[in-house]
């Protein structure tokens, strides 16, 4: 996964170039794969460590939420929490944000592993290997600054 700040900034910048509607939902979608798939096992591990650690299956079972099948299910589940007339838009934006997240992550190189894009139908990992798994750290400040500038400009525009 790329770092969370880069994911956040890229989602804002993409929305700025495509109409600036439903930005919070799209940005949420771009953060959720890491928040849903990485955060729970880390938190559970901290809780379970004094008790002997988390069982392996409990660590692994969150991973599909970082893959297309899990993203589809999670987007649909979350969209159902919104009013009926907003669900299609919310679903599309959540899924779009998650898709952007996965696309950025797919560009990384992880020493022989990757993402099982067609899980559960096909489990061969895929990765484009265009940059290292930590390289976004170097551009994150620039992306964050650009996203903040775009956000500020949009706020001023909507206020005026």
């Amino acid at each position: 996964m790329a770092d969370l700040v880069s994911h956040w900034a890229l989602a804002v910048l993409l929305k700025a170039g495509t109409g600036w509607r439903d930005v919070p939902v799209f940005v949420a979608g771009s953060l959720l794969p890491d928040l849903l798939a990485r955060l729970p096992p880390m938190a559970l591990e901290l809780v379970a460590r004094p008790l002997g650690g988390l069982p392996a299956w409990a660590s692994y079972m969150w991973a599909p939420l970082h893959l297309p099948a899990g993203m589809l299910a999670a987007s649909y589940l979350l969209a159902l929490l919104f009013p009926a007339e907003r669900r299609r838009v919310v679903f599309a934006n959540l899924l779009g944000g998650m898709g952007l997240h996965l696309l950025v992550d797919l560009c990384q190189d992880h020493l022989g592993v990757g993402y099982q894009l067609l899980f559960p139908l096909w489990t061969r990992p895929v990765e484009f290997g265009l940059w290292g798994s930590e390289d976004t750290v170097l551009v994150a400040p620039l992306l964050a600054a650009a996203a903040a500038a775009v956000w500020w400009r949009q706020r001023r525009r909507s206020a005026g």
Partner: protein, 152 residues
């Protein structure tokens, strides 16, 4: 599909799909052919089997040897066959290892070790992003009449 008709059932079905995907993934992950779990269950049958430890945390360091963990813990890695400079690698460092399983001592003999020196920065950005999300979420969404709404 997006209407209020049978909404509780749809919520339940979506949640069940998430759980089923997770259970199936965990089932497969614990049975990767030739992977660490299988190798340790049948060491002799997996002598020489290729092994990958992506983004594992170093638990202990001694000359020519690392002990690493992530989901599985206490994995011994023999680093005597590589020329990578491991200075600065300490408990807590994130590294990736490609190598092969050695049945004699249950260790992974490393062919490639990649040290992720920027990982602490990436983790810090992750915490920053998480705190930002927690701060912005209540400003962007609200719960009203049993539904989630986008503000503004």
């Amino acid at each position: 599909m997006f209407s209020d008709r049978h909404r509780p059932l749809k919520l339940l079905a979506a949640a069940a799909a998430v759980v089923a995907l997770g259970a199936w993934y965990a089932h497969l992950a614990l049975r990767v052919p030739g992977g660490w779990w299988e190798a340790t269950a049948d060491p002799v049958g997996h002598d020489g089997a290729p092994q990958l430890l992506p983004l594992y945390t170093v638990e202990a360091v001694s000359p020519g040897r690392l002990v690493m963990g992530k989901v599985a813990r206490g994995i011994p890695v023999d680093t005597t066959a590589i020329s990578t400079d491991l200075s600065g690698v300490a408990p807590g460092t994130t590294v990736s290892v490609a190598g092969h399983f050695r049945a004699a001592d249950g260790a992974i003999v490393a062919d490639v070790v990649e040290i992720h020196r920027l990982r602490p920065w990436k983790k810090a950005l992750g915490v920053l992003g998480l705190l930002g999300a927690l701060g912005v979420a209540p400003l962007s969404f609200r719960w009203r009449a049993g539904r989630l709404e986008q503000r503004g």
